[in-house]
Amino acid sequence: MALSPRWQALIRLYGVQAAWTYERMAGIGVGHAAAPLLRDLFRDRPSEERRQAVARSTEYFNCHPYLAGIAVGAVVRAEEQGVPGAAITRLRTALSGPLGAIGDQLIWTGEVPIVMGVALALLPMIGWWAVFAAVVVHNLLRFCLTLWGLDLGLAHGLGVGRALELSWLPPAARRAQRGAAFAVGLALPIVSVWLWRDGAPSGGLAVLALAIVGTVLVLSPLTRTRVTGLRVGLVLLAVALLVIGGSQ
C-alpha cells in the first residue's frame, strides 16, 4: 500500500537536516520533504513547472526542524494557488526567522529541558522508567507537532504567518520556557544528591566548592565566552589525573 503524499512528506520531515549545510541550512531537507506533495500537485502539469517549484523549495531555509512542516505545507499550498515564484520565495524568507525563534523557544529551551529535567528528577525514584517515559512523551509530542505544522501550512498557504500568530504556539512557547526553568531547577538538587550518594560517596563539600567556582566562571561576563561547563570538567579531570598519576 502506497503512502499518501502527506504521509510521505511527514516521514521526510523527520530527516529534514540530513543534508544540512552552513550555507543553505535546512534548504535541501525542506525540498526533499516537499517533493512528494509537489509531485502530486503537478502530476497533470508540465514537468518544468514542478522542477521550478522543487528548485525553489531547496533554496536557503533556516528554521527549527520540528516546525519545518509549516513552511513545507505553506509553500505547497501557495504553489497550488498559483502564487508567483518570487512571492513564494518571499514567503519562505518571511517564515524562516519566526519559525526558528518560536521553535527554539518551544523545543530547545522549553519542551526538551522540561522532559529531561523531569526525567532526571524522577531517576532516583523510578529508575530507567523515567528515561523510557521521557523518550516516549517527547516523540509523541514531536509527532503531533510535526503533523499539526504540516496541516497548518497546507490549510493556510500565504496566510500561514497570521494563522501561526493566532495559534496556540506563541503562548505555549512562553509557558514552556517557564516550565523548563522550573524542571531543570527541580532536577539539579535531586540528581546531584543522587549522583553524589550512589556514584561518588565522598567529598561533597569539595565538589560543591568546585562547582560554585566553575559556575561563576561559566556565567561571569569576563570569562563566559571562553569557559563552558565542558571545559571546566576537562580541566578538573586533567588536574585529577595529574594528582593521581603523581601519587602512584
Partner: protein, 224 residues
C-alpha cells in the same frame, strides 16, 4: 566485552549519532538515554544511568540554535555507559567523564566536519539541485544519512577503544581515584547550573528556576 555486545554497542552508537544530526532527532542522542541503554546492554542499568545522568548535566548547557557548534555527547555516552557497567571498580561517574567528555568534544568537531562535507556534496550537485532534480536531492539526503551513520560508528569505535584501555587499569590499586568523580561531578554541576541560568534568562523565568531549585532541594532532603 563479548563480540556480540561490542557490535550491539557500535550499532547503538551509530543510531545515537544519527539521532542528533540527521534523523529522527527524538532524544536518543541525549547522554542519559544513550548511556542508560548501553548500561542495560552491558548488564548494569544503574551504572549506565549514573554515567548518563552526569553527562546529561553537561548537555544541559547546550542550546543547538541555528549554526551553533556544540559537543556531541551521544556516542561517548554509549561507551561510557557500557564501561561503567563493565568496569565497576573505576566508578561510574569518573569513567563517564574520562570517556564521555573528550569524546563529546571530538563528536562536536566531527559534526562540524560532516556539515562541511555536506556543503561540498551540495556544491557538486548544485546544477541538478537548482534545476529541481528530485533524484539529486534524494541522493544528497541519503548520502548525508550514511556519512553521519559512519561518523557515529567511528566515534563509537573510538569510545569502545578508550573503554578497553580504561579496563586495562587495575583500579583497585589506584590511589585517590575519587578525585576523578569529584572533578567530573563538579564540572557537570557547573554546566548544569550555567545551562539552567541561561535557559531561565531574566525576569519571571528566573523566578521559576528559583522555585524549582527550592522544591528540588526540599525533595532531595526529604528523600534522604
Amino acid at each position: 566485552m563479548t563480540v556480540p555486545l561490542a557490535i550491539a554497542l557500535l550499532v547503538w552508537g551509530s543510531i545515537v549519532a544519527l539521532d542528533l544530526v540527521t534523523v529522527p532527532q527524538g532524544l536518543l542522542s541525549r547522554p542519559l538515554v544513550a548511556a542508560t541503554l548501553a548500561g542495560a546492554m552491558a548488564g548494569d542499568v544503574l551504572a549506565g544511568m549514573l554515567a548518563g545522568a552526569v553527562l546529561e548535566l553537561y548537555n544541559l548547557e547546550i542550546l543547538p540554535i541555528g549554526a551553533a557548534r556544540y559537543p556531541d555527547y551521544g556516542p561517548g555516552a554509549v561507551a561510557a555507559g557500557a564501561a561503567a557497567a563493565l568496569i565497576p571498580a573505576a566508578g561510574p561517574i569518573g569513567i563517564a567523564g574520562l570517556i564521555g567528555l573528550p569524546l563529546g568534544l571530538l563528536g562536536g568537531w566531527s559534526v562540524h566536519r560532516h556539515r562541511r562535507n555536506n556543503a561540498r556534496r551540495v556544491g557538486r550537485q548544485l546544477d541538478r539541485v537548482s534545476a529541481g532534480d528530485a533524484r539529486a536531492i534524494w541522493h544528497l539526503q541519503r548520502e548525508g544519512l550514511w556519512r553521519d551513520a559512519a561518523r557515529g560508528l567511528v566515534l563509537s569505535a573510538i569510545g569502545l577503544g578508550v573503554a578497553w584501555a580504561v579496563h586495562l587499569v587495575d583500579w583497585s590499586t589506584v590511589a585517590h581515584r575519587e578525585l576523578l568523580d569529584w572533578a567530573v561531578l563538579a564540572g557537570g554541576l557547573s554546566a548544569g547550573l550555567g545551562g539552567a541560568l541561561r535557559i531561565a534568562g531574566k525576569g519571571a523565568r528566573r523566578r521559576w528556576l528559583a522555585v524549582g531549585l527550592l522544591t528540588g532541594t526540599i525533595v532531595a532532603i526529604a528523600w534522604h
